[in-house]
Protein backbone atom coordinates (compact mmCIF):
# COMPACT_ATOMS: atom_id res chain seq x y z
CA UNK A 1 0.00 0.00 0.00
CA UNK A 2 2.82 2.31 1.03
CA UNK A 3 4.51 1.39 -2.18
CA UNK A 4 1.45 2.30 -4.23
CA UNK A 5 1.14 5.70 -2.54
CA UNK A 6 4.77 6.37 -3.37
CA UNK A 7 4.29 5.43 -6.98
CA UNK A 8 1.38 7.83 -7.26
CA UNK A 9 3.44 10.57 -5.63
CA UNK A 10 6.23 9.87 -8.07
CA UNK A 11 3.81 10.46 -10.95
CA UNK A 12 2.60 13.71 -9.40
CA UNK A 13 6.19 14.85 -8.99
CA UNK A 14 6.88 14.15 -12.65
CA UNK A 15 6.52 17.26 -14.80
CA UNK A 16 5.75 15.17 -17.85
CA UNK A 17 2.86 13.40 -16.16
CA UNK A 18 1.28 16.57 -14.83
CA UNK A 19 1.68 18.26 -18.19
CA UNK A 20 -0.01 15.36 -19.91
CA UNK A 21 -3.02 15.58 -17.59
CA UNK A 22 -3.37 19.36 -17.78
CA UNK A 23 -2.32 20.17 -21.29
CA UNK A 24 -4.33 18.71 -24.16
CA UNK A 25 -1.45 19.45 -26.54
CA UNK A 26 1.11 17.82 -24.29
CA UNK A 27 4.13 16.43 -26.13
CA UNK A 28 4.22 13.62 -23.57
CA UNK A 29 0.80 12.18 -24.44
CA UNK A 30 2.15 9.34 -26.50
CA UNK A 31 4.68 8.43 -23.88
CA UNK A 32 2.03 8.09 -21.17
CA UNK A 33 -0.44 6.25 -23.33
CA UNK A 34 2.28 3.70 -24.02
CA UNK A 35 3.17 3.57 -20.37
CA UNK A 36 -0.46 2.96 -19.45
CA UNK A 37 -0.79 0.38 -22.15
CA UNK A 38 2.17 -1.54 -20.73
CA UNK A 39 0.15 -3.00 -17.89
CA UNK A 40 -2.97 -2.83 -15.82
CA UNK A 41 -1.04 -1.68 -12.76
CA UNK A 42 0.29 1.31 -14.65
CA UNK A 43 -3.18 2.17 -15.91
CA UNK A 44 -4.65 2.04 -12.41
CA UNK A 45 -1.86 4.16 -10.95
CA UNK A 46 -2.16 6.73 -13.70
CA UNK A 47 -5.91 6.88 -13.32
CA UNK A 48 -5.72 7.48 -9.60
CA UNK A 49 -2.98 10.09 -9.88
CA UNK A 50 -4.92 11.79 -12.65
CA UNK A 51 -8.16 11.84 -10.74
CA UNK A 52 -6.45 13.30 -7.69
CA UNK A 53 -4.73 15.94 -9.77
CA UNK A 54 -7.91 16.95 -11.57
CA UNK A 55 -9.76 17.26 -8.32
CA UNK A 56 -7.12 19.49 -6.81
CA UNK A 57 -7.34 21.53 -9.96
CA UNK A 58 -11.11 21.77 -9.67
CA UNK A 59 -10.79 22.76 -6.02
CA UNK A 60 -8.32 25.48 -7.01
CA UNK A 61 -10.59 26.57 -9.80
CA UNK A 62 -13.44 27.00 -7.34
CA UNK A 63 -11.27 29.17 -5.15
CA UNK A 64 -10.22 31.37 -8.02
CA UNK A 65 -11.89 34.71 -7.44
CA UNK A 66 -13.50 36.49 -10.30
CA UNK A 67 -12.11 39.94 -10.80
CA UNK A 68 -14.93 42.38 -11.17
CA UNK A 69 -14.77 44.36 -14.34
CA UNK A 70 -14.79 47.61 -12.43
CA UNK A 71 -11.59 47.05 -10.54
CA UNK A 72 -9.76 45.52 -13.48
CA UNK A 73 -10.66 48.56 -15.58
CA UNK A 74 -9.79 50.84 -12.73
CA UNK A 75 -6.30 49.44 -12.26
CA UNK A 76 -5.77 49.71 -15.99
CA UNK A 77 -6.93 53.32 -15.97
CA UNK A 78 -4.38 54.10 -13.27
CA UNK A 79 -1.65 52.39 -15.24
CA UNK A 80 -2.53 54.35 -18.35
CA UNK A 81 -2.61 57.55 -16.41
CA UNK A 82 0.81 56.87 -14.94
CA UNK A 83 2.22 55.94 -18.32
CA UNK A 84 0.69 58.98 -19.98
CA UNK A 85 2.19 61.32 -17.42
CA UNK A 86 5.54 59.69 -17.73
CA UNK A 87 5.71 60.79 -21.34
CA UNK A 88 5.23 64.41 -20.23
CA UNK A 89 6.67 64.79 -16.76
CA UNK A 90 9.57 63.41 -14.81
CA UNK A 91 9.34 59.77 -14.02
CA UNK A 92 9.47 60.23 -10.27
CA UNK A 93 6.19 62.14 -10.24
CA UNK A 94 4.35 59.01 -11.11
CA UNK A 95 1.12 58.97 -9.11
CA UNK A 96 1.00 56.36 -6.43
CA UNK A 97 -2.42 55.21 -5.66
CA UNK A 98 -3.21 54.13 -2.14
CA UNK A 99 -6.26 52.52 -0.72
CA UNK A 100 -8.44 55.55 0.04
CA UNK A 101 -7.76 56.96 -3.35
CA UNK A 102 -9.00 53.65 -4.59
CA UNK A 103 -12.52 54.04 -3.31
CA UNK A 104 -12.93 57.53 -4.66
CA UNK A 105 -11.76 56.49 -8.04
CA UNK A 106 -13.96 53.44 -7.87
CA UNK A 107 -17.07 55.57 -7.61
CA UNK A 108 -16.06 57.68 -10.59
CA UNK A 109 -15.12 54.67 -12.54
CA UNK A 110 -18.28 52.72 -11.85
CA UNK A 111 -20.08 55.51 -13.68
CA UNK A 112 -17.72 55.27 -16.59
CA UNK A 113 -18.14 51.55 -16.85
CA UNK A 114 -21.90 51.85 -16.82
CA UNK A 115 -21.71 54.45 -19.52
CA UNK A 116 -19.42 52.35 -21.61
CA UNK A 117 -22.13 49.77 -21.45
CA UNK A 118 -20.57 46.59 -22.41
CA UNK A 119 -17.03 45.74 -21.62
CA UNK A 120 -16.22 42.24 -22.46
CA UNK A 121 -13.69 41.07 -20.00
CA UNK A 122 -12.18 37.66 -20.13
CA UNK A 123 -13.03 35.98 -16.90
CA UNK A 124 -10.66 33.18 -17.06
CA UNK A 125 -7.18 33.30 -18.39
CA UNK A 126 -5.61 30.17 -17.07
CA UNK A 127 -5.58 28.54 -20.47
CA UNK A 128 -5.85 29.91 -23.93
CA UNK A 129 -9.28 28.68 -24.79
CA UNK A 130 -10.19 28.12 -28.36
CA UNK A 131 -13.76 29.25 -28.14
CA UNK A 132 -15.40 27.30 -30.86
CA UNK A 133 -19.15 27.46 -31.01
CA UNK A 134 -19.34 23.95 -32.34
CA UNK A 135 -17.00 21.08 -32.02
CA UNK A 136 -14.14 21.29 -34.45
CA UNK A 137 -13.22 18.16 -36.18
CA UNK A 138 -9.70 18.87 -37.27
CA UNK A 139 -8.22 20.06 -34.01
CA UNK A 140 -6.19 17.60 -31.99
CA UNK A 141 -7.99 16.10 -29.05
CA UNK A 142 -6.64 14.29 -26.08
CA UNK A 143 -7.27 10.63 -25.78
CA UNK A 144 -9.12 9.55 -22.69
CA UNK A 145 -8.38 6.26 -21.02
CA UNK A 146 -10.99 4.93 -18.66
CA UNK A 147 -10.23 1.90 -16.63
CA UNK A 148 -12.19 -0.10 -14.12
CA UNK A 149 -9.70 -0.77 -11.34
CA UNK A 150 -12.39 -1.73 -8.84
CA UNK A 151 -13.85 -5.09 -7.92
CA UNK A 152 -17.29 -4.62 -9.47
CA UNK A 153 -18.62 -3.77 -12.87
CA UNK A 154 -18.67 -0.08 -13.44
CA UNK A 155 -20.79 2.18 -15.63
CA UNK A 156 -19.10 4.81 -17.80
CA UNK A 157 -20.71 7.53 -19.88
CA UNK A 158 -19.51 8.65 -23.28
CA UNK A 159 -20.04 12.14 -24.69
CA UNK A 160 -22.35 10.87 -27.46
CA UNK A 161 -24.87 9.49 -24.96
CA UNK A 162 -23.66 5.90 -25.10
CA UNK A 163 -23.08 3.98 -21.93
CA UNK A 164 -20.51 1.32 -21.31
CA UNK A 165 -20.36 -1.07 -18.39
CA UNK A 166 -16.79 -2.18 -17.87
CA UNK A 167 -16.06 -5.44 -16.10
CA UNK A 168 -13.25 -5.50 -13.59
CA UNK A 169 -9.93 -4.78 -15.26
CA UNK A 170 -11.47 -3.67 -18.56
CA UNK A 171 -10.21 -0.55 -20.26
CA UNK A 172 -11.49 1.70 -23.02
CA UNK A 173 -9.87 4.63 -24.70
CA UNK A 174 -11.39 7.16 -27.05
CA UNK A 175 -11.06 10.68 -28.31
CA UNK A 176 -12.23 12.91 -25.45
CA UNK A 177 -14.98 14.65 -27.40
CA UNK A 178 -15.81 11.80 -29.80
CA UNK A 179 -16.04 14.47 -32.43
CA UNK A 180 -14.74 12.79 -35.57
CA UNK A 181 -16.85 11.46 -38.40
CA UNK A 182 -16.93 8.13 -36.59
CA UNK A 183 -17.24 7.30 -32.95
CA UNK A 184 -14.30 5.09 -32.06
CA UNK A 185 -13.40 3.18 -28.93
CA UNK A 186 -10.52 0.81 -28.18
CA UNK A 187 -11.37 -1.97 -25.80
CA UNK A 188 -9.49 -4.53 -23.79
CA UNK A 189 -11.35 -6.74 -21.35
CA UNK A 190 -15.04 -7.31 -21.11
CA UNK A 191 -17.70 -4.66 -21.58
CA UNK A 192 -21.40 -4.23 -22.23
CA UNK A 193 -22.25 -1.45 -24.66
CA UNK A 194 -25.44 0.52 -25.00
CA UNK A 195 -24.71 2.62 -28.02
CA UNK A 196 -26.75 5.75 -28.63
CA UNK A 197 -28.35 5.68 -32.06
CA UNK A 198 -26.71 7.91 -34.63
CA UNK A 199 -26.73 6.54 -38.20
CA UNK A 200 -24.60 9.47 -39.39
CA UNK A 201 -21.78 8.59 -37.07
CA UNK A 202 -21.25 4.86 -36.84
CA UNK A 203 -19.74 3.56 -33.65
CA UNK A 204 -16.62 1.37 -33.95
CA UNK A 205 -15.05 -0.78 -31.28
CA UNK A 206 -11.54 -2.03 -31.84
CA UNK A 207 -10.27 -5.13 -30.08
CA UNK A 208 -6.92 -6.83 -30.80
CA UNK A 209 -8.33 -8.85 -33.70
CA UNK A 210 -11.76 -7.49 -34.46
CA UNK A 211 -13.53 -4.34 -35.48
CA UNK A 212 -17.16 -4.08 -34.42
CA UNK A 213 -19.38 -1.57 -36.16
CA UNK A 214 -22.82 -0.54 -34.95
CA UNK A 215 -25.27 2.26 -35.44
CA UNK A 216 -27.09 1.97 -32.13
CA UNK A 217 -27.60 -1.25 -30.25
CA UNK A 218 -26.68 -3.09 -27.10
CA UNK A 219 -24.23 -5.95 -26.95
CA UNK A 220 -21.38 -7.40 -24.96
CA UNK A 221 -17.79 -7.71 -26.09
CA UNK A 222 -15.12 -9.79 -24.46
CA UNK A 223 -11.54 -9.14 -25.45
CA UNK A 224 -9.30 -10.58 -22.81
CA UNK A 225 -6.58 -13.15 -23.04
CA UNK A 226 -7.16 -15.31 -26.08
CA UNK A 227 -10.90 -14.85 -26.06
CA UNK A 228 -12.61 -12.37 -28.32
CA UNK A 229 -16.36 -12.56 -28.67
CA UNK A 230 -19.32 -10.35 -29.40
CA UNK A 231 -22.81 -11.21 -28.13
CA UNK A 232 -25.79 -9.15 -29.28
CA UNK A 233 -28.71 -8.21 -27.09
CA UNK A 234 -30.62 -5.79 -29.31
CA UNK A 235 -30.20 -4.40 -32.79
CA UNK A 236 -27.69 -5.31 -35.46
CA UNK A 237 -23.92 -5.51 -35.21
CA UNK A 238 -21.28 -5.84 -37.96
CA UNK A 239 -18.01 -7.56 -37.09
CA UNK A 240 -14.84 -7.39 -39.19
CA UNK A 241 -11.42 -8.91 -38.84
CA UNK A 242 -8.97 -6.21 -37.88
CA UNK A 243 -6.86 -6.30 -41.04
CA UNK A 244 -9.92 -6.37 -43.27
CA UNK A 245 -10.68 -3.41 -45.46
CA UNK A 246 -13.78 -1.97 -43.82
CA UNK A 247 -15.13 -0.40 -47.00
CA UNK A 248 -14.56 -3.34 -49.31
CA UNK A 249 -15.16 -6.54 -47.42
CA UNK A 250 -18.36 -8.01 -46.12
CA UNK A 251 -18.72 -8.17 -42.37
CA UNK A 252 -20.34 -10.87 -40.29
CA UNK A 253 -23.76 -9.53 -39.45
CA UNK A 254 -24.98 -10.43 -35.99
CA UNK A 255 -28.55 -10.27 -34.80
CA UNK A 256 -29.93 -10.67 -31.28
CA UNK A 257 -29.24 -14.09 -29.78
CA UNK A 258 -26.13 -14.44 -31.90
CA UNK A 259 -22.51 -14.58 -30.90
CA UNK A 260 -19.39 -14.10 -32.95
CA UNK A 261 -16.05 -15.51 -31.83
CA UNK A 262 -12.59 -14.91 -33.23
CA UNK A 263 -10.78 -18.15 -33.81
CA UNK A 264 -7.06 -17.62 -33.38
CA UNK A 265 -6.16 -20.93 -35.06
CA UNK A 266 -8.21 -20.29 -38.21
CA UNK A 267 -7.83 -16.53 -38.05
CA UNK A 268 -11.49 -16.10 -38.84
CA UNK A 269 -14.80 -15.18 -37.27
CA UNK A 270 -17.30 -17.87 -36.31
CA UNK A 271 -20.96 -17.14 -35.72
CA UNK A 272 -23.13 -19.17 -33.42
CA UNK A 273 -26.65 -18.77 -32.15
CA UNK A 274 -26.90 -19.10 -28.44
CA UNK A 275 -29.84 -20.72 -26.83
CA UNK A 276 -28.93 -20.45 -23.20
CA UNK A 277 -30.65 -17.78 -21.21
CA UNK A 278 -27.45 -16.33 -19.76
CA UNK A 279 -27.53 -12.60 -19.52
CA UNK A 280 -25.78 -10.50 -22.09
CA UNK A 281 -25.69 -7.36 -20.02
CA UNK A 282 -23.25 -6.90 -17.16
CA UNK A 283 -24.81 -6.24 -13.81
CA UNK A 284 -23.82 -3.05 -12.14
CA UNK A 285 -24.73 -1.27 -8.96
CA UNK A 286 -24.36 2.05 -10.65
CA UNK A 287 -27.46 4.02 -11.10
CA UNK A 288 -27.86 4.80 -14.76
CA UNK A 289 -28.29 8.50 -14.20
CA UNK A 290 -28.09 11.25 -11.64
CA UNK A 291 -30.93 13.25 -10.18
CA UNK A 292 -30.45 16.67 -8.75
CA UNK A 293 -32.98 18.67 -6.86
CA UNK A 294 -32.20 22.31 -6.27
CA UNK A 295 -28.54 21.44 -6.41
CA UNK A 296 -25.83 24.07 -6.69
CA UNK A 297 -24.52 24.34 -10.24
CA UNK A 298 -21.13 23.46 -8.89
CA UNK A 299 -22.27 19.98 -7.89
CA UNK A 300 -23.83 19.35 -11.28
CA UNK A 301 -20.69 20.42 -13.14
CA UNK A 302 -18.50 18.27 -10.91
CA UNK A 303 -20.69 15.30 -11.72
CA UNK A 304 -20.42 16.06 -15.43
CA UNK A 305 -16.63 16.26 -15.12
CA UNK A 306 -16.58 12.84 -13.57
CA UNK A 307 -19.07 11.29 -15.96
CA UNK A 308 -17.23 12.37 -19.07
CA UNK A 309 -13.67 12.98 -17.91
CA UNK A 310 -13.90 16.46 -19.43
CA UNK A 311 -13.01 19.57 -17.44
CA UNK A 312 -15.75 22.19 -17.11
CA UNK A 313 -14.53 25.78 -16.97
CA UNK A 314 -16.79 28.36 -15.48
CA UNK A 315 -16.65 31.20 -13.08
CA UNK A 316 -17.65 29.76 -9.72
CA UNK A 317 -18.26 33.22 -8.28
CA UNK A 318 -20.60 34.32 -11.07
CA UNK A 319 -22.73 31.21 -10.88
CA UNK A 320 -22.70 30.77 -7.13
CA UNK A 321 -26.42 31.54 -6.80
CA UNK A 322 -27.51 29.09 -9.45
CA UNK A 323 -29.45 26.06 -8.30
CA UNK A 324 -30.98 23.59 -10.67
CA UNK A 325 -33.22 20.58 -10.67
CA UNK A 326 -32.31 18.14 -13.38
CA UNK A 327 -31.83 14.48 -14.04
CA UNK A 328 -28.88 13.45 -16.11
CA UNK A 329 -29.56 10.22 -17.94
CA UNK A 330 -28.72 8.85 -21.34
CA UNK A 331 -28.82 12.11 -23.28
CA UNK A 332 -25.61 13.10 -25.05
CA UNK A 333 -23.23 15.47 -23.36
CA UNK A 334 -24.33 18.29 -25.65
CA UNK A 335 -28.00 17.73 -24.90
CA UNK A 336 -27.25 17.81 -21.19
CA UNK A 337 -25.32 21.04 -21.53
CA UNK A 338 -28.09 22.62 -23.55
CA UNK A 339 -30.63 21.91 -20.84
CA UNK A 340 -28.36 23.12 -18.06
CA UNK A 341 -27.31 26.33 -19.77
CA UNK A 342 -30.85 27.13 -20.85
CA UNK A 343 -32.00 26.80 -17.26
CA UNK A 344 -29.47 29.30 -16.00
CA UNK A 345 -29.48 31.60 -19.02
CA UNK A 346 -25.92 30.81 -20.02
CA UNK A 347 -24.16 29.49 -23.09
CA UNK A 348 -21.55 26.82 -23.58
CA UNK A 349 -18.83 25.85 -25.97
CA UNK A 350 -16.89 22.62 -26.23
CA UNK A 351 -13.27 22.55 -27.27
CA UNK A 352 -10.26 20.35 -26.72
CA UNK A 353 -9.64 22.25 -23.53
CA UNK A 354 -12.97 21.17 -22.14
CA UNK A 355 -16.34 22.78 -21.69
CA UNK A 356 -16.56 26.51 -21.32
CA UNK A 357 -19.61 28.07 -19.67
CA UNK A 358 -20.35 31.76 -20.12
CA UNK A 359 -23.16 33.72 -18.60
CA UNK A 360 -24.22 36.31 -16.11
CA UNK A 361 -25.17 34.05 -13.21
CA UNK A 362 -28.42 33.87 -11.26
CA UNK A 363 -30.04 36.08 -8.66
Amino acid sequence: MEDRAEKINALLLDNRFVDWVLNPQSPYAQYWLQWIGAGTENAALAEEAKQFLLEVRTAENNREKAVDEGSAEQIWAHIQQAIGQEELVEVKNMPRRRSIYWMMAAAVFAGLVLFAGLIVFKQRVQQPVATTATIKESSPAAEVVRYNGGKNNELFFLPDGSKITLAKGARISYNRLMNGSKRQVQLTGEAFFEVAKNPEKPFYIYTPNMVVKVLGTSFRITASGNKETVAVKTGKVSVYLKDQDLEQSAPKILLPQQTCTYSASKKELETTTYTSLSKIELETDNISGYNFEDAPLDTVFKTLEMMYAIPVHYNAETFKNCYITISLGSESLEEKLEVITKTIGASFSISDYGIDIQGKGCN
Binding site: A5, I8, N9, L12, L13, N15, V18, D19, L22, N23, P27, E48, Q51, F52, L53, E55, V56, R57, A59, E60, N61, N62, R63, E64, K65, A66, V67, S71, A72, I75, W76, H78, I79, A82, I83, E86, V91, M94, R96, R97, R98, S99, W102, F121, K122, Q123, R124, V125, Q126, G150, E154, L155, F156, F157, D285, N286, I287, T303, M306, M307
Partner: protein, 187 residues
Protein backbone atom coordinates in the same frame (compact mmCIF):
# COMPACT_ATOMS: atom_id res chain seq x y z
CA UNK B 1 10.23 18.88 -27.59
CA UNK B 2 9.07 21.96 -29.32
CA UNK B 3 11.54 24.74 -29.66
CA UNK B 4 10.68 27.56 -27.31
CA UNK B 5 9.67 30.74 -29.10
CA UNK B 6 9.79 34.24 -27.79
CA UNK B 7 6.38 35.63 -27.05
CA UNK B 8 5.39 38.09 -29.78
CA UNK B 9 3.07 40.21 -27.65
CA UNK B 10 5.90 40.64 -25.22
CA UNK B 11 8.27 41.73 -28.02
CA UNK B 12 5.70 44.23 -29.31
CA UNK B 13 5.35 45.69 -25.85
CA UNK B 14 9.14 45.99 -25.57
CA UNK B 15 9.15 47.93 -28.80
CA UNK B 16 6.79 50.48 -27.33
CA UNK B 17 3.39 49.17 -28.42
CA UNK B 18 1.05 50.16 -25.60
CA UNK B 19 -1.72 48.03 -27.08
CA UNK B 20 0.49 45.01 -26.47
CA UNK B 21 0.95 46.07 -22.86
CA UNK B 22 -2.81 46.34 -22.53
CA UNK B 23 -3.23 42.94 -24.05
CA UNK B 24 -0.76 41.44 -21.55
CA UNK B 25 -2.60 43.20 -18.76
CA UNK B 26 -6.00 41.91 -19.80
CA UNK B 27 -4.72 38.40 -20.39
CA UNK B 28 -3.07 38.03 -17.01
CA UNK B 29 -4.90 40.35 -14.63
CA UNK B 30 -7.15 37.63 -13.26
CA UNK B 31 -4.31 35.17 -12.70
CA UNK B 32 -2.08 37.86 -11.21
CA UNK B 33 -4.71 39.00 -8.72
CA UNK B 34 -5.46 35.45 -7.69
CA UNK B 35 -1.81 34.55 -7.40
CA UNK B 36 -1.16 37.68 -5.35
CA UNK B 37 -3.91 36.66 -2.96
CA UNK B 38 -2.10 33.37 -2.41
CA UNK B 39 0.85 35.38 -1.07
CA UNK B 40 -1.02 37.95 0.99
CA UNK B 41 -4.65 38.47 1.91
CA UNK B 42 -4.29 42.20 1.50
CA UNK B 43 -6.37 42.77 -1.59
CA UNK B 44 -5.43 46.43 -1.94
CA UNK B 45 -1.75 45.73 -1.62
CA UNK B 46 -2.00 43.18 -4.44
CA UNK B 47 -3.80 45.70 -6.66
CA UNK B 48 -1.23 48.38 -5.84
CA UNK B 49 1.64 46.09 -6.65
CA UNK B 50 0.09 45.02 -9.96
CA UNK B 51 -0.41 48.63 -10.93
CA UNK B 52 3.17 49.52 -10.08
CA UNK B 53 4.42 46.43 -11.81
CA UNK B 54 2.86 47.36 -15.16
CA UNK B 55 3.94 50.99 -14.90
CA UNK B 56 7.50 49.92 -14.16
CA UNK B 57 7.47 47.40 -16.95
CA UNK B 58 6.52 50.13 -19.37
CA UNK B 59 9.18 52.51 -18.06
CA UNK B 60 11.95 49.97 -18.29
CA UNK B 61 10.71 48.26 -21.44
CA UNK B 62 13.92 48.90 -23.36
CA UNK B 63 15.98 47.05 -20.79
CA UNK B 64 13.70 44.05 -20.42
CA UNK B 65 14.73 40.75 -21.91
CA UNK B 66 12.67 38.75 -24.34
CA UNK B 67 10.78 35.91 -22.78
CA UNK B 68 9.10 32.74 -23.94
CA UNK B 69 6.76 32.83 -21.00
CA UNK B 70 5.25 36.20 -20.03
CA UNK B 71 3.11 34.57 -17.36
CA UNK B 72 6.19 33.31 -15.54
CA UNK B 73 7.85 36.70 -15.87
CA UNK B 74 4.83 38.54 -14.49
CA UNK B 75 4.23 36.03 -11.69
CA UNK B 76 7.82 36.28 -10.55
CA UNK B 77 7.88 40.06 -10.76
CA UNK B 78 4.68 40.28 -8.73
CA UNK B 79 5.94 37.82 -6.17
CA UNK B 80 9.20 39.73 -5.69
CA UNK B 81 7.36 43.00 -5.42
CA UNK B 82 4.91 41.67 -2.87
CA UNK B 83 7.54 40.05 -0.70
CA UNK B 84 9.67 43.21 -0.81
CA UNK B 85 6.71 45.34 0.23
CA UNK B 86 5.61 42.89 2.87
CA UNK B 87 9.09 42.78 4.37
CA UNK B 88 9.18 46.58 4.52
CA UNK B 89 5.83 46.63 6.25
CA UNK B 90 6.62 44.27 9.03
CA UNK B 91 9.88 43.86 10.82
CA UNK B 92 10.10 40.22 9.87
CA UNK B 93 8.65 39.58 6.49
CA UNK B 94 5.52 37.55 6.25
CA UNK B 95 7.21 35.36 3.72
CA UNK B 96 10.10 34.64 6.06
CA UNK B 97 7.67 33.90 8.85
CA UNK B 98 5.91 31.46 6.62
CA UNK B 99 9.21 29.84 5.82
CA UNK B 100 9.90 29.34 9.53
CA UNK B 101 6.32 28.39 10.26
CA UNK B 102 6.20 25.70 7.60
CA UNK B 103 8.27 23.29 9.66
CA UNK B 104 6.26 24.00 12.81
CA UNK B 105 2.78 23.85 11.40
CA UNK B 106 3.21 20.68 9.43
CA UNK B 107 3.24 18.52 12.54
CA UNK B 108 0.20 20.20 13.93
CA UNK B 109 -1.72 19.97 10.71
CA UNK B 110 -0.95 16.32 10.30
CA UNK B 111 -2.21 15.61 13.80
CA UNK B 112 -5.36 17.50 13.09
CA UNK B 113 -5.84 15.60 9.87
CA UNK B 114 -5.54 12.26 11.60
CA UNK B 115 -8.15 13.39 14.11
CA UNK B 116 -10.44 14.53 11.36
CA UNK B 117 -9.66 11.72 9.01
CA UNK B 118 -12.97 10.03 9.47
CA UNK B 119 -14.93 13.18 8.89
CA UNK B 120 -12.85 14.11 5.89
CA UNK B 121 -13.18 10.65 4.50
CA UNK B 122 -16.87 11.23 4.18
CA UNK B 123 -16.78 14.81 3.14
CA UNK B 124 -13.83 14.53 0.88
CA UNK B 125 -13.13 18.14 1.15
CA UNK B 126 -10.05 19.03 -0.79
CA UNK B 127 -10.90 22.68 -0.45
CA UNK B 128 -10.61 22.48 3.30
CA UNK B 129 -7.37 20.60 3.03
CA UNK B 130 -5.98 23.22 0.70
CA UNK B 131 -7.06 25.95 3.11
CA UNK B 132 -5.13 24.33 5.90
CA UNK B 133 -1.90 23.91 4.00
CA UNK B 134 0.89 26.28 4.96
CA UNK B 135 0.89 29.13 2.50
CA UNK B 136 4.01 28.18 0.60
CA UNK B 137 3.00 24.55 0.27
CA UNK B 138 -0.29 25.68 -1.16
CA UNK B 139 1.55 28.01 -3.51
CA UNK B 140 3.57 25.14 -4.99
CA UNK B 141 0.43 23.03 -5.46
CA UNK B 142 -1.32 25.96 -7.08
CA UNK B 143 1.51 26.75 -9.47
CA UNK B 144 2.07 23.13 -10.46
CA UNK B 145 -1.49 21.72 -10.62
CA UNK B 146 -3.43 24.80 -11.61
CA UNK B 147 -1.04 26.80 -13.77
CA UNK B 148 0.98 23.86 -15.09
CA UNK B 149 4.35 25.47 -14.37
CA UNK B 150 7.13 22.85 -14.40
CA UNK B 151 8.88 22.31 -11.07
CA UNK B 152 12.08 23.97 -12.32
CA UNK B 153 10.11 27.11 -13.15
CA UNK B 154 8.38 27.10 -9.79
CA UNK B 155 11.74 26.95 -8.02
CA UNK B 156 12.89 29.99 -9.99
CA UNK B 157 9.61 31.76 -9.37
CA UNK B 158 9.77 31.22 -5.64
CA UNK B 159 13.50 31.90 -5.37
CA UNK B 160 14.15 28.50 -3.92
CA UNK B 161 16.57 25.81 -4.79
CA UNK B 162 15.06 22.94 -6.68
CA UNK B 163 15.39 20.34 -3.95
CA UNK B 164 13.84 22.49 -1.20
CA UNK B 165 10.94 23.27 -3.49
CA UNK B 166 10.44 19.54 -4.21
CA UNK B 167 10.52 18.83 -0.47
CA UNK B 168 7.85 21.44 0.00
CA UNK B 169 5.75 19.82 -2.70
CA UNK B 170 6.25 16.38 -1.22
CA UNK B 171 5.04 17.58 2.17
CA UNK B 172 2.00 19.19 0.60
CA UNK B 173 1.16 16.05 -1.37
CA UNK B 174 1.53 13.90 1.70
CA UNK B 175 -0.91 16.03 3.66
CA UNK B 176 -3.42 16.27 0.84
CA UNK B 177 -3.36 12.63 -0.12
CA UNK B 178 -3.72 11.55 3.47
CA UNK B 179 -7.00 13.36 3.81
CA UNK B 180 -8.21 12.60 0.36
CA UNK B 181 -10.58 9.84 -0.57
CA UNK B 182 -11.29 9.41 -4.22
CA UNK B 183 -14.85 9.79 -5.32
CA UNK B 184 -16.13 7.48 -7.94
CA UNK B 185 -19.14 8.18 -10.11
CA UNK B 186 -21.40 5.67 -8.41
CA UNK B 187 -21.33 7.46 -5.08
Amino acid sequence: MLEAKYDTTWSRFKNGDSKALESLYRTYIQSLLNYGLKITEDDNLVKDCIQDLFVELWKSRQNIADTTDPKFYLFRALRNKLSRTLSQQSFVSEVEMQLAADSLTTGYIELEIIAKEHELYNHHNLQQLLDKLPRRQHEVIYLRFYHNFPYETIAALMNMNYQSMLNLMQRALKTLRKGYSPITPQQ
